[in-house]
Symmetry: C2
Subunit: 337 residues, 2 copies
């Protein structure tokens, strides 16, 4: 591995050999439904509390990823995971069930790519053979913890986002077939002073633009080198802001598809209740591991840059008048040949 | 870097070239007071909220570590940090102030050694030159969040521990003088079913014993190879349990000093209010970076194994009747020559 600026270059090209993506019923009504491994028909995920439901999603996704990687559970060497819950309990309880050495990480909704970056580093330079990265979110755990319990039925502004219910895991290996992880650009905390915890897209857009700009600077690549550049969950408010900021940074995005996982996972016409689009750390995880990697394996996409964005606030920091510090971690995925 | 079982072997021996340790007034009354870089005379740390106080400690410690490493702030390439606050806000806000690429981690009180392990991996194998690891805790933030606000004056059982107020940071580099990081053993989640959130020592002891046993198995080392084996915060209840469990695992601890940071930081005779001893993720950080490294630099200790322990519960998981999943990450520190 080589460090260039903020970017890690993985010289041995760790490969994603297996993924598991499990979602809730609302994600099952979206356009990507067929790309996920399993769609629960009930938002309770057959569990008694929302938190146990979120954990169940992550446990299911991890098992599915191990199965699809074609390895046994005891071959897994490390689990790098995190989630939005206080003290990342979903990941820690899933790690207890998995029984492998565990590195807990937190980057809010950027956790998907943060965990994949750390897992890839471990494989690339550490001689680890099988490392899992994973994360999960549940609409009802996250809404309850950060805003109001969904049962209250409180109204939301149209720029608010909808936390997706789902978990995504991947097994990264030093050999095998699949998309390779070639670069990870680790983000700085960017905070332009937005204080409205409903306006995540606007808060996170500058972080996404910053990391994308640094990625190009560090790697010498341009937007046109990628078939798809996809942000985590900027949704309909944040994505145009990120585009504007990239233009201000003199990043030419012509000819490249610039999309957002939060806009891809739902049918924005039919599922009006999602407001500006999806969010939550499961969002970029299930869209990347379920949908994007499938397209890569089919040969429809060769090079993809996934830029997972995270809002690092807590309800308490917001109540104390703090603005929202944001971050974005980008990971480059490439099919060989 | 080489992976052996659960252990990372750092072949290029990353070096801790600078540390910063900042504590509150109660830690300033303990026997290690002179080993810390700065002792605040007020528990408010001159801030208006406990959370801002905790963040201030971490910002101070990071600045001090950079200063003592003899580098400029903009030479720092990555910050690996975490804390006990929901959404690790202390670390994220400190990262905002520092302005460097940021990897948020969470391992409860094991965060000190988890962050040092990840930072060391990044230097050892990534060609990064200057990476910071750091963590902080504050008695009043942690008590409020996990149990009751200290202002309530609620009574505690004698086996309860006392969250230390303090932050510890280190700068890890690929060259320079100082103690080298030679191994990191990443823990599994161990949960023997303890449900009492006051009884952290007993809950965490099995995780410490498990990681120590694995460390010896993976490295071929024995306890007698270390001048000091020190756990993070098992305190007076957990330390004897860990010793018993190690004996059951046929680990021979004769002739090795086996101590605990939570028992070292306070005067257990005079500071009776700490009950069983110190805890919090600042505890092992300030004792290791302040006290232990000082002794290593003086030549009093050559090889030390720091086993930071963490209880991965949240108030919510406890309220839902869950037991406490625990983890321990061990890092081996060695003076050359």
């Amino acid at each position: 591995m080589k460090v260039i600026g903020q970017t890690w270059q993985f010289e041995n090209k760790p490969v994603i050999i297996g993924t598991g993506t499990i979602v809730g019923p609302e994600e099952g009504e979206g356009p990507l439904a067929n790309d996920f491994d399993y769609v629960y028909d009930n938002i309770e995920i057959n569990e008694k509390t929302w938190e146990k439901a979120e954990r169940k999603l992550l446990e299911d996704a991890s098992r599915k990823a191990v199965e699809k990687a074609g390895i046994k559970e005891d071959q897994l060497q490390f689990f790098v995971g995190g989630d939005l819950m206080n003290q990342i309990i979903s990941s820690s309880f899933a790690a207890r069930q998995m029984g492998v050495p565990y590195i807990g990480v937190f980057g809010a909704c950027s956790t998907s790519m943060e965990s994949l970056a750390v897992a890839s580093m471990l494989v690339d330079s550490g001689g680890a053979q099988y490392v899992m990265a994973g994360t999960a979110s549940h609409n009802c755990t996250v809404e309850k913890q950060f805003r109001y319990p969904t049962e209250y039925g409180s109204q939301k502004p149209p720029y608010a986002q909808y936390t997706i219910t789902g978990a995504g895991c991947s097994v990264v290996s030093d050999k095998g077939d699949g998309p390779a992880v070639t670069y990870a650009t680790i983000g700085k905390v960017v905070d332009l002073g937005i204080k409205d915890p409903f306006n995540m897209g606007a808060a996170m857009a500058p972080a996404a633009a910053d990391t994308i700009t640094k990625h190009f600077k560090d790697t010498g690549r341009q937007a046109k080198d990628y078939d798809l550049i996809v942000t985590g969950d900027l949704a309909s408010v944040g994505l145009p802001i990120a585009k504007d900021l990239l233009q201000q940074n003199d990043v030419i995005m012509d000819g490249t598809v610039f999309a957002d996982c939060g806009l891809m996972i739902y049918d924005m016409e039919k599922q009006k209740y999602v407001n500006a689009g999806g969010s939550g750390c499961g969002c970029s995880a299930v869209v990347t591991y379920g949908h994007i990697l499938k397209r890569m394996r089919k040969g429809e996409l060769k090079k993809v840059l996934v830029v997972a964005t995270g809002a690092l606030l807590s309800p308490l920091s917001y109540q104390q008048g703090e603005s929202i510090p944001c971050i974005a971690h980008a990971v480059a995925l490439e099919m060989g040949g």
